[in-house]
Amino acid sequence: MSSEDRELRRISVGALARVEGEGAMRVRVHGGKVEEVALDIYEPPRFFEALLRGRSYTEPPDITARICGICPVAYQTSAVHAIEDACGVEVDTSVRALRRLLYCGEWIQSHALHIYLLHAPDFLGYESALELAKVVPDAVQRGLALKKAGNDLMTVVGGRAVHPVNVRVGGFYRAPSRSELEALVEPLQRALEAAEETVRWVGGFTFPDFEHDHEYVALHHERDYPMEAGRMVSDRGLDIGPAEFEDHVEESHVEHSNALHAVLRGRGTYMTGPLARYSLNFDRLSSRAREAAHDAGLGESCRNPFQSIVVRAVETLYAVEEALSIIGSYRPPRPSAHPVAPRAGRGCGWSEAPRGLLYHRYTLADDGTIEDAVIVPPTSQNQRAVEDDLARFVEAHLDLDDQALTWQCEQAIRNYDPCISCATHFLQLDVERRA
């Protein structure tokens, strides 16, 4: 490399692949120091919050599900929680169990998609799942079978696998029968083995030596691993209910992104998603999931974002077990939905999307018309953490050539399974190096 090259090096990736949505990244290095890292989210905003205004309080589960084809259940769940909160309705345990079962389906399919088709190629040195499939077809088959188990669960409980239609404020339009769910037991038992094999497989990958220090934020429930319920806690003492979210989380616009950046007021960057969930809720996992995690080299908490793929695999295993457990004790909710009468007020709700905490808040008029809506998706909450990881990762790995650095930067972004479409309301990689 000539001295001129050392002064200014530019790495460029047209658009980030294997992420959901459109974005780019710029890194500027000056004299061995990273001066700027920017995750550019150029996918245009879709103004969902504005189009919810004036709609009926019964509509958010179906409208907001359209924000994402990968995690519609998260949108539906957070939406119904917020509306039920506004209307002063609490659903019973049978509705809650069915919501959790549907959510298990989403975690299984979303995590299987990310682990096998989007993230594993990074660790094994392939450009795509297609190349990966040529080398390890059995692994890709396993991933697709696992994903299908999640899709089938969503189809039976939610009416269809993408943008389920069976979720309503108060519960479900129709509760599946016991026999419909029992038909899922055998495929889920096969999925349980596939999920265990997945944890072993990804546990054997090589992970860059890297740790971060973000404040971990996730839901925490008295009994269950958090999915659809719990309080928002952090590893530094935060412990709040949904109504307090906006007192603690501050969103701001930055010039380079069509997604809002979120920080914890007076505390700064935080991180939500599988690593935070796992580290704050390890003792809520099943013994089988904890053992699999241990055998795959994880401790009770995890601070290496590159190991998020292992945590996702552990969560997938947990979700399959949990689905089997819910089906085992299933009693259809009767009626399938609680009556929910509209009233004027403000309601807040959240749940743990596969990518992290998803918050909704609605203000209703007395006839149930939505006057105001706020949606805070996990990817916008994690943007600052992603940029911080990139800055520190690049600074520690300036010895890598541009190609290797680009590869690992993209991998570092995919650690977060970013859903750019959800966040816009994201990756061209551009590294500029100056001596």
């Binding site: 692949a17 992420v19 998609l113 088709l117 795509s128 297609l130 077809p137 088959q141 696998a161």
Partner: protein, 161 residues
């Protein structure tokens, strides 16, 4: 019994990109038992899953091959025909994401995983406009009936004794 899966890919909110779904609406009207009609298939892995149990699969997708709008191309890409979309067996470069995997790459992935139906017929329809908005341009609208008729003929042949 023969199992046929017919799929129309595309976004009906992006003008002529909606030609696949439009053809499926016509085909669904005349569908017979044993035929599964898919208007989009979620994301690419789901299309693969749908093919896994099919003897014959048919796909309609809009294309931009620089031809006259409404021009159709018919490609045999099943296992029996070698399992390639592009004649030289390459796949299309481009960004793959959770929402987007070029059809040639889906076929290649299916071939690699031994999940390619014996027969796979792909109809490509050259679009004239791919901007925001519903509705097809007149040339592509006319192609819809033509392609639907061809597909129904293929389906009929699949069930012929």
């Amino acid at each position: 019994m023969t199992r046929v899966v017919v799929a129309g890919l595309g976004n009906e909110l992006r003008s002529d990109d909606g030609v696949g779904p439009a053809v499926m609406v016509r085909v669904a009207r005349s569908a017979r038992p044993g035929v599964t009609v898919l208007i989009n298939a979620g994301e690419p892995a789901d299309l693969l899953e749908a093919w896994r149990h099919a003897d014959v699969a048919i796909v309609v997708d809009a294309m931009d091959a620089g031809l006259e709008p409404g021009t159709t191309r018919r490609i045999e890409a099943g296992a029996a025909a070698g399992g390639h979309v592009l004649a030289d067996g390459t796949t299309l470069p481009g960004s793959a994401s959770s929402h987007l995997l070029p059809l040639s790459n889906v076929v290649e992935l299916a071939r690699t995983l031994d999940a390619l139906p014996g027969r796979l017929v792909i109809f490509g329809v050259q679009g004239g406009a791919f901007g925001y908005g519903e509705g097809l341009t007149p040339e592509v609208e006319r192609a819809v009936e033509r392609v639907a008729a061809e597909i129904l003929e293929e389906v009929g042949a699949a069930f012929a004794p």
